[in-house]
Symmetry: C2
């Protein structure tokens, strides 16, 4: 199965601006991307990065400057099935959870993210195109329902937690053991009591 | 497997105070409890409610006025194994996810919640006691590591999302199809674009 990992190489993780400066955001985004690529490989697939600018990573890189949805759909319109699309900000993704993307014999397999996004998906349907936005999980479900396409939704906490804003960092410190979690610890983040359970803070 | 479902029958869901009045919180908590009891039954187990006050539900109820951890440990200190403890605010819990609690032949099975809590667990170890607090997932893991007890962590989005504060309501509207989700819709909550993907609002 082809596995695309879209990556914003220009201004990654802007919503972490309150806690990380631009260079830190770039370094952290790269560490999380490395975690995702490792997990995809361990799951038995060869990841391909789809980046908005050239980026030096240990995987083939295709550069497409367009926004996320048209860039992904540019690949989906020409590539063989099955194909998966896995977000680059899923450093908690495990090989086991990613392997489930390939297992169901369904037209569309969705892994929802917190807040209603689509963090990972795979498709065997030649007409499927992504439509990433707030609530894309429901939009992708509706696409399948409109066509009587078969749909499987994965139940994975590891795939649901995209690291997008400061409140998400705690999940990575609690559950992560890869480069993203190590990077956070190296720059001084630690777990403290927060408004909703544990939170990540640095002095 | 015995399945305990602790329930605060006195002042449930106080952290939903910004969006629900006390009577609404009580009704919503009961709707979510009913969803959890249904899912436990469909998973093949007979749920038992452990409540802080008498409550009229379709399951055996034991009343224990103590705080959550001593009340649960009061049962754990005397009951047979395996035994599971499932939070009452998991209306997205599926029978499939709950069934996984019983499957591993492990001393301790943990389903982490967002923010580092322990939303569901099962144990076959006679000495295990709960210690619910911010970060209880790590505390429960540490308990197992200290004793060389075998541990399995479940990877379930459905068990990770406890409905605890206003930001959580969106997940129930996006993914829920039970009584908790229906109750939210009946009182006027709907999905709108929020700071992190979709959010639940009512006029």
């Amino acid at each position: 199965m082809r596995v695309l990992v879209p990556f914003d190489a220009r201004e990654p993780k802007t919503r972490l601006d309150p806690v990380l400066d631009p260079d830190e955001r770039a370094a952290f985004a790269r560490a999380m991307l490395a975690d995702v690529l490792d997990a995809v490989r361990t799951a038995g697939h060869a990841p391909e990065v789809l980046a908005t600018a050239p980026v030096d990573v240990d995987a083939p890189v295709t550069v497409d400057e367009r926004p996320l949805s048209p860039a992904v759909n540019g690949v989906l319109s020409t590539c063989d099935r099955p194909v998966a699309v896995v977000a680059a900000d899923l450093p908690l993704a495990t090989p086991a959870a990613l392997a489930e993307l390939a297992e169901p014999d369904a037209d569309l397999v969705l892994a929802p993210g917190l807040g209603g996004g689509t963090n990972a998906l795979s498709t065997r349907h030649p007409a499927f195109r992504v439509d990433y936005h707030d609530g894309s999980y429901r939009a992708h479900r509706a696409w399948a329902a409109d066509r009587d396409a078969t749909l499987v939704t994965l139940d994975s906490f590891r795939l649901a937690v995209d690291i997008d804003e400061p409140a998400d960092l705690a999940e990575l410190l609690i559950h992560g053991d890869g480069r993203g979690a190590a990077w956070l610890q190296e720059v001084g983040f630690e777990l403290v009591a927060g408004e909703r359970g544990l939170a990540a803070r640095r002095d």
